[in-house]
Amino acid sequence: MATFEESGSEIVSDAEPKLLSIKNIASTAGKILRARLPWAPIIIMAVVVICAIFAPLLAPHDPTDIDIGVRKLAPGENWSYPLGTDRLGRDMLSRLIYGARTSAFISLVALGAGAVVGTTVGLVSGYAGKWTDTILMRITDAAMGFPTILAAMIIVTILGAGIANIILAIAVTVWARFARMIRGEVLQVRNRDFVLAARITGVSPVMIIWRHIFPNVINTLLIILTLLVGQTILLEASLSFLGLGLAPGASAWGLMVAEGRDYLISMWWLSLLPGLVITMVVMAFNFFGDWLRDTLDPKLRRSI
């Protein structure tokens, strides 16, 4: 274990931390399997995914079904509506299950788009350097700092409301985080000798990025992705809370909190439950992301 001899002798001891071994696809899987898995977050994440996919099968009622006969039921009051109903008699549980679908869909698409754009920008910016890098990073900085809700407002003003525009608004700001982090990693990988070795052999820049650089930033990508899921869900919730995207009555957690706000005293569960669900789900993703980062790349600790 050369790591213990940190201050002792030669470049070897600095260059040889065992972390390096982690940077290997084969051992990534092994590492994840060997480490103690965070079961609670995994179960919560799995429940969300299952709810999102099988919402129609799992939900006991149609979330949009209005039934004045069962309105304003508190949780536990009527067991066919275990989490209660709202003032129109819509089933809370069913709406929450469908809400998972909304959240999962929006986060997934927005994050996916952000990841693709951001990773590409990060790879190109980091590898090309010079003015390409300067320009791309100025844009990235601006996009990263720009408040997402502000961006969403502008987009909604211009393009109108709708799920697609919420996704666009999130993607427009979230890509910058990928770009920043990936670029940082690329800068480090680019200076490693194996990239120089490939260049002097005559390997083309596209192949260098694809075979030598990209595989070495996949861990980082994976980590950012999981760490951002939580934040994306929060953003989506905030946007739907403000009524900036979805039509009233849609099943989205943020929107449900907003609707419940007017009946805080009489029907406390309307706002409490969806908020609790958001908190738990985001917590699960955050925990999992932290765990993944600690397992795969402790050096990233500070950066996100």
């Binding site: 470049i11 120089l196 490939a198 002097i200 052999t201 595989p215």
Partner: protein, 346 residues
């Protein structure tokens, strides 16, 4: 030791060429230093290499020694075609490498390979050993899978590893073994010239001799030429046929190791030798402790760039850079101590 089958022919490998395998002539590499708030303008140059000429004969080792910032690594990298020289030319088999056709450039890249200092950084941790070793081959030749596999196994054996190592990843190897993998990779296209940039200084002391011996053996078997960059003078003496001593981008002394180390002429070479600590407590060596450190290459001193630290500097040294003189057969130095102007003024 297996002899890998001959696969490619070197560029312009006509038998008529009889000069050195590679040589550079009056090579300069300046990096601009810019300043300015919005509009950036050049305010000077880092003179990384400032007029260096060397010859690398076939099958021999030419070593460059000197302290950090002397330009030895930049000089070596000029052969790797990752940067263009500011002035001067690099020749390989008599041809200017920057004037080669596309096809010739590809052949050149196959004939010149490199081994770097840090084996933890020079192997892509995400690639298996077999694809690492085969990458140069795949880039330059079209071989079938079985041919490739056979070749990789041959190469592994050549560098003292086993064929089952091909299926492993770099992190499963120790420093010395990784350096062997890097050497196998460099050998894959049957190069004629290898750039060795501090190939053992990152390795454990007890491993270094293994790698040095392997490199020597390969040189004999494949009549390879080496351009070796090293700061350890004893290693250089063990490995080389020719030594060049560099200081601030200039070659100050050159010759066979027995001459350069046995009878050094340039005051800087003498100081370097004195700084290489003797291997036995009773060995006494002339002790020359230089003043200060290597000056910045941005604004190098006038005249002989060494005059600011030279214990025997004369007035003339700060005026014009001294000409290169042959002081003995094949032993050259640039110092006023050995020119008529210098001896006259002294």
């Amino acid at each position: 030791m297996t002899t890998p089958s001959q696969i490619n022919a070197a560029p312009g490998s006509d038998s008529s060429y009889e000069g050195p395998l590679a040589h550079i002539e009056n090579l300069k590499k300046y990096y601009p230093v810019t300043q300015g708030m919005i509009v950036r303008k050049n305010v000077g140059y880092v003179k990384a290499i400032d007029g260096v000429s060397i010859d690398i004969p076939k099958g021999q080792t030419y070593s460059l020694v000197g302290e950090s910032g002397c330009g030895k690594t930049t000089t070596a990298r000029m052969f790797l075609m990752v940067e263009k020289p500011t002035a001067g030319q690099v020749f390989f088999r008599g041809k200017d490498i920057h004037k080669l056709s596309r096809k010739e450039t590809a052949d050149y890249r196959a004939s010149v390979q490199a081994v770097f200092q840090d084996p933890w950084s020079s192997l892509n941790p995400r690639m298996r050993v077999d694809s690492l070793i085969a990458e140069p081959l795949v880039t330059h030749q079209h071989l079938s899978r079985t041919e490739l596999k056979k070749r990789v196994h041959e190469l592994l054996e050549t560098v003292g590893l086993r064929s089952f190592h091909a299926e492993r990843y770099p992190h499963e190897f120790s420093g010395g073994q990784r350096q062997r993998i890097a050497i196998a990779r460099a050998l894959s296209t049957q190069p004629e010239l290898m750039i060795l940039d501090e190939p053992v200084s990152a390795l454990d002391v007890s491993i270094r001799a293994q790698i040095l011996n392997l490199l020597k053996e390969l040189q004999q078997n494949f009549s390879l030429s080496y351009l070796l960059i090293a700061h350890n003078l004893a290693t250089v003496r063990y490995m080389s046929h020719q030594v060049g001593v560099m200081y601030l981008g200039k070659l100050v002394e050159e010759g066979p190791p027995s001459a350069v180390f046995g009878d050094p002429k340039h005051p800087y070479t003498k100081a370097l030798i004195s700084a290489a600590l003797p291997a036995h407590p009773t060995n006494d060596r002339e002790e020359i402790v230089l003043r200060g450190e290597v000056p910045s290459p941005i604004n190098p001193p006038s005249g002989c760039t060494f005059h600011t630290r030279c214990p025997v500097a004369m007035d003339i040294c700060s005026t014009v850079y001294p000409e290169r003189r042959e002081v003995a057969e094949g032993h050259r130095t640039s110092c006023y101590l050995y020119t008529e102007t210098g001896t006259a003024s002294a």
